[in-house]
């Protein structure tokens, strides 16, 4: 059994349902062919380093799985058929001798990543809160300034009127 990673790029102008349909279809191919899917990760829309089929952006999705070689062939056959896939590549990661151990390791990695993401989100939320507080304070101060300004303008206009009147 070997571990492989297949990364494919979908065209960027699809609806979420279409994307989900393709992703689930490809994930199903792996399990149907008796490969073991470790992870399907959606990297999100990224800028391409060069134009592919006149697209400058693409949705990157990666499939990590442990299987025998025929699964790769079947998966790549499917990727060739699917029209929205603008690029794909399969890379051999290494030999897997103990599948259960590999699955456990993947689960652990996923957990760690989830924890890291949660922490990032928390930090971002905190930052956003701080910014919101800052912005609120700022807007208050600007409001005060605004409140102060119109009076000045009024007085300026009055003064202008007076000068005009004098000229007349």
């Amino acid at each position: 059994m070997r571990e492989y990673e297949t990364v494919y790029i979908l065209r960027p102008d699809m609806t979420e349902q279409e994307e989900a349909a393709i992703n689930s279809r490809l994930a199903e191919v792996v399990t149907r062919e008796k490969g073991h899917l470790l992870k399907q990760a959606i990297w999100g829309k990224k800028k391409l380093a060069y134009e592919i089929r006149h697209f400058n952006k693409g949705l990157y999705v990666s499939l990590k799985y442990v299987s025998e070689a025929p699964v790769v062939q079947e998966l790549e056959r499917n990727l060739k058929i699917l029209e929205p896939v603008i690029r794909f590549g399969t890379f051999r990661v290494g030999e897997v001798e103990n599948l259960q151990e590999r699955i456990a390791r993947q689960a652990k990695e996923d957990e760690e990543e989830a924890a890291r993401l949660a922490q990032q989100r928390e930090e971002a939320a905190e930052e956003a809160e701080e910014q919101a507080v800052d912005a609120a304070e700022e807007s208050e101060s600007t409001r005060q300034v605004e409140a102060a300004e119109p009076r000045e303008e009024d007085s300026g206009q009055d003064a202008g009127d007076e000068t005009e009147a004098e000229e007349e």
Binding site: V7, I9, K46, A49, Y50, I52, G58, Y60, R87, G89
Partner: protein, 83 residues
Amino acid sequence: MNDAKETKRSPRFSRRKLCRFCADKSLKVDFHDVQTLKLFLSEQGKIIPRRISGNCAVHQHQVGQAIKRARQLALLPYVQTNI
């Protein structure tokens, strides 16, 4: 032994660079990691040779492989035209 070799070979030139992947074992070469791979590309997007990058043979090979994989997936350019 290495030190002796270096001093004998090149008193004129600066110290030979260490392979950064050997120096820091926690670093792994990975084709996902575009930011690290960019360190080993010239402005035009060419792979920097190991006599300049300082990588050891093993890691230079890994870096080259990773860059080529990343190029196939349009993560890195084959040629950088807009300099």
